[in-house]
């Protein structure tokens, strides 16, 4: 029974990791780039939300809205400053490095907004309940449902709309998509926006479940998202979801069995092993990308 309880908790946690991983996978899939400032954008959204709360007085819904909008805004800012100015391929590492600088910047802006080390984050009140012998936290179940719905909506967006086809074609080969008339730069911007929204949603859910936010949240969520994406296979959307769920499960079980300290180490160890043994992740993504035009190193 304990195993089942832990697994349920793990899946709940994992569903939020899945959203984080999806954000990274979307950006990497379409643009072949990593936004290291991602977590910092989420932290900014959350910090802005808490900062504005007394002014707006909208309670939990205010936090929800501002976190998402703040994260999306920050994400767009990062795209404009760090990603748009740098050309394809040679600019990939520079863009990542620039995002790294803005990560530092956003982290400090967030510290300015929330000067104390810990701030309360009041989520939506949902009653907890017992399902037979299993204890289910109401808010986590709600978050799981929201995550599921978001993933479903994302799927519909990508596979049933013209926009989605543009995105997937660009992810497959941006040169060919450009040749066929796809507005590749505009797509890049929009994808960052979507990633920011998804991330903001995930951030709201994680912080509500925890009940507080600390300055380390930026680094933490960036790392979790990257790990979810890597376990699943870099750039693969299905992989990101699976990776997030697996990360949640492994982490929760490790924490239950070995304690919180070991829990993080198990995560690091697992990622390291994945990278050494099967860098392509669950979905077996090729880590050397062979484009017809050239061979690119990821």
């Amino acid at each position: 029974m304990d195993m089942l309880q832990t697994s349920i908790d793990g899946l709940m946690m994992g569903s939020t990791y899945a959203l984080l991983g999806l954000s990274f996978a979307l950006v990497f899939g379409v643009m072949r780039r990593i936004n290291l400032a991602f977590g910092a954008c989420l932290l900014f959204g959350a910090s802005l939300a808490i900062y504005l709360e007394p002014i707006l007085g909208w309670g939990a819904w205010g936090l929800f809205l501002v976190t998402i909008v703040g994260a999306a805004l920050a994400s767009s800012y990062v795209e404009r400053l760090c990603f748009a100015p740098h050309g394809k391929r040679q600019g990939d590492v520079t863009a990542m490095v620039a995002s790294f600088a803005v990560w530092m910047q956003l982290d400090e802006i967030s510290s300015q907004l929330l000067p104390q080390r810990t701030h309360a984050f009041q989520g939506i009140e949902v009653p907890n309940f017992w399902w037979g012998e299993l204890f289910v936290r109401g808010d986590q179940l709600l978050h799981f449902a929201i995550a599921l719905v978001s993933i479903l909506l994302l799927y519909l967006l990508l596979y049933k709309t013209r926009f989605g086809l543009l995105v997937r074609a660009t992810a497959d080969s941006s040169e060919t998509a450009h040749l066929l008339g796809a507005p590749v730069p505009w797509l890049g911007f929009t994808i960052f926006l979507v990633a920011g929204i998804l991330g903001g949603l995930a951030a709201f859910m994680i912080l509500s479940a925890d009940g507080y936010v600390t300055p380390l949240f930026g680094l933490w969520s960036t790392f979790k998202g990257l790990v979810a994406m890597i376990i699943g296979g870099v750039g693969s959307l299905v992989g990101a979801v699976l990776g997030g769920l697996i990360l949640g499960l492994v982490e929760t079980h490790a924490g239950a069995a070995l304690g919180a300290e070991f829990r993080d180490m198990v995560t690091f160890g697992m990622v390291f092993l994945v990278l050494i043994i099967r860098p392509g992740g669950l979905m077996g993504v090729k880590i050397y990308r062979t484009d017809s035009l050239a061979q690119e190193r990821v």
Binding site: C82, V93, Q105, E108, F268, V298
Partner: protein, 299 residues
């Protein structure tokens, strides 16, 4: 020289070692988020050698450098097939796993009434070699700066050698380098090991200066700062990372009122700078242009 200024300068010198170690990895075309682990390993080894085994700091520091190099080489061998973001994340994991191991090493001895030795999360206290041998703060600064200068001389003389040229070629385009007959793996491993040595040496100095070290000091943020300085300063020459260190710490210390907003300004400036100068301030292109101008004028 007043003690405060001496400490600031010493800290800059020690961080410079970390920044230079990150730079060495950048030269072969990779980004490492894990140099702080080798810094930490060097610190612990030098501390053990000098405080536990009573060895002279020369041998202690050498041991720290060798320790750093060995672990770096191990990492390099494990990640031999990886590059880019995969390599970067694996360095982060490796560093955290090492730090975790340090949290669990307990070998504190009671020597002459003092507790000396690694004591898990409590750290390693009483690394008192420089005090027991009557080194003033300014003496140590001189020692640290001298070591840094020696390292810089080595790096500058390497700049024009086939080794550095080959390494930069590998960093730029490993496929092209291979077609020219270079073995990218060989360069990668050597430079990663070298970077570990540099970080380990710096860590050893850090342990001696601080007299107390603990695993929490060698976390991700430390490595990220070192990396930041190397990237911002530019990887065209060893001067780059130094420039990065001076810019950030110098700025921090001199503009006190802005201290709280330092990263906001610095981070934004860096991203902006990269738009116009993608390879950092001291970029390889700038370096070759300056070199050819110097050559034309003086030769």
């Amino acid at each position: 020289m007043d003690i405060y200024l001496a400490s600031v300068l010493t800290n800059m010198t020690l961080i410079a070692f970390l920044a230079l170690s990150a730079y060495l990895v950048l030269v072969v075309g990779e980004v490492s988020f894990g140099q702080q682990a080798f810094f930490g390993i060097g610190a612990y080894i030098t501390a053990s050698a000098t405080a536990l085994a009573g060895v002279h700091i020369f041998w202690g520091l050498l041991a720290g450098a060798i320790g750093g190099a060995s672990f770096a080489l191990l990492l390099g061998l494990l990640t031999i097939r990886l590059s880019g973001i995969y390599f970067a994340i694996s360095t982060l994991c490796f560093a955290e796993l090492l730090r975790f191991s340090l949290l669990h090493i307990r070998f504190a001895q009671n020597i002459d009434g003092r507790i000396i030795g690694p004591d898990g999360p409590e750290g390693f206290s009483n690394i008192r070699w420089i005090f027991e041998n009557n080194y003033a703060v300014t003496d140590f600064l001189l020692l640290a700066v001298t070591c840094l200068i020696i390292l810089l001389i080595v790096l500058f003389s390497l700049e024009r050698s086939p080794i550095m040229l080959g390494a930069r070629m590998v960093g730029d385009d490993p496929v092209l380098a291979q077609s020219q007959g270079l073995n990218p793996t060989y360069y990668r491993l050597s430079f990663i090991a070298f970077s570990g040595a540099v970080a380990g040496f710096g860590g050893g100095l850090f342990a001696l200066f601080n007299t107390h070290i603990e695993p929490a000091m060698f976390g991700v943020m430390l490595g990220i700062h070192g990396l930041a300085y190397a990237i911002i300063g530019g990887c065209g020459s060893a001067i780059g990372p130094l420039l990065g260190v001076v810019l950030d710490i110098g700025l921090l210390e001199s503009i006190r009122q802005l201290a709280a907003y330092r990263m906001i300004i610095f981070g934004g400036l860096v991203a902006l700078l990269l738009v116009f100068r993608p390879e950092g301030i001291v970029s390889p292109r700038l370096v070759s242009r300056l070199k050819s101008r110097w050559r034309k004028r003086y030769l």
